[in-house]
Symmetry: D2
Subunit: 140 residues, 4 copies
């Protein structure tokens, strides 16, 4: 009953129409989280030739959502409650990878962090933390 | 030499291709900030029929960017350094309005907050704070 | 059954021993929040002669706690779930005032913001937001 | 010219009077950060018998300060610019350990994260991120 990366990708793409066009996908399920990819798209560019902040925010939030469902099952009604991000360096135009990990999984909320990399680099370009609020029953 | 709402809208749409398709615009310049609008688009929907978190993150970030340039002039190379958002209630499918205000304008950074409303409602659906880092010369 | 500023001050000083020595007090209850004071104490100084960051964090958190109980009644088991603060300018050695306001009061959580001033000045020296988690019954 | 744990502890205790009474100390310098300890003190208790939020905020901030100076040398004028913390579980009355790590060390700012543990446990009770602003010359 554990969801596969392909199932998680499909659930998110169906539920969040904007993610479908973006090419976002869950690449791998890891012990305490997931690894996701956002393919490069010229629409992500901002002045200076780097990727825009909201591109990374959107990826970080989707990676957290995937990590919540990888751990707890199909919980589409889980919603972001709070979100914090620090931008560390300006990513060049390339695919982004996001590793989301669960810091704490509680009855009401899941707290996570996310590190975003440029593919082929080890430098973290942004680091986010966030809280997902679970549906009242704990499950849908 | 102060930028008008139309000029700010044009600068942001030209510099950030994703904002052009979104219909984002600066509606009004206010004493310490700006009022911006994001038209409703079915792509913004997430499970539960509300607007997705990243839709509001993207609007909040763009509103801060507009407020920085409304105060300091054409500073396209200003970049988000850190960003924090709390989601307060689930917005119905409708246009969103964002009021960004400057909390502090320094030599290196500008700190702002943003309140996001659904058009026609007084309830704040999300509240964000963020820091924009200014280009080293203070001006481009 | 609404708590007075003196009652709120007493509840906090009894429950949080560190606050008693600090002289923290709730000065006034306002429509959507509270105004609190932290008397100056040389222990709050950090290098540069300004007040330390944790001094302001502690004041902001106590002001949020007071605002939650001013709104919902004696809810000592409410706890901080997440907290974010931006430091805007370096406060001189003087009493600090904190105005905490409720952004959203829900069944499970209360989201607040706090502006911290130096007494006698209108400049905000720090701005915080936070989420308090309410005890499961909503009331103790 | 690298500072030892004892030197870092002394610099912080001298500069921040409140830390002296707390017994805060830097225990170890690690590849990308530091490990610090805050001894248990009954003043740290809050209702429910757990340690107060500001106790953990203060520890996290001091650990970041120590990590900045462990990396860059004696930079007492470095100041917290922004700070975010998520509380994950309620720490029992015991010594707290904080591991602060550098996410990015730039010319103007250092971004860090901190995990706080109860001594003898592997559970993270709080996780913080923050940005320290460096003095304009990069060095004092």
């Amino acid at each position: 009953m554990t969801l596969t990366p392909a199932e998680l990708t499909a659930i998110i793409r169906e539920g969040v129409p904007a993610s479908e066009g973006s090419g976002f996908c869950v690449e791998r399920i890891e012990p305490d989280g997931v690894l996701c990819r956002l393919p490069f798209n010229p629409l992500q560019i901002r002045p200076g030739g780097t990727l825009s902040g909201p591109t990374m925010m959107t990826l970080a939030d989707a990676a957290m959502y995937a990590a919540v469902m990888a751990r707890l099952g199909r919980l589409e009604m889980a919603v972001t409650q709070s979100f914090n991000i620090n931008f560390l360096s300006r990513p060049m135009p390339a695919d982004l990878l996001a590793r989301a990990g669960i810091l704490k999984s509680g009855r009401r909320t899941v707290v996570l962090d996310v590190s975003i990399y440029t593919e082929g680099s080890l430098d973290v370009v942004a680091h986010a933390t966030g809280t997902y609020s679970l549906p009242p029953a704990g499950r849908e």
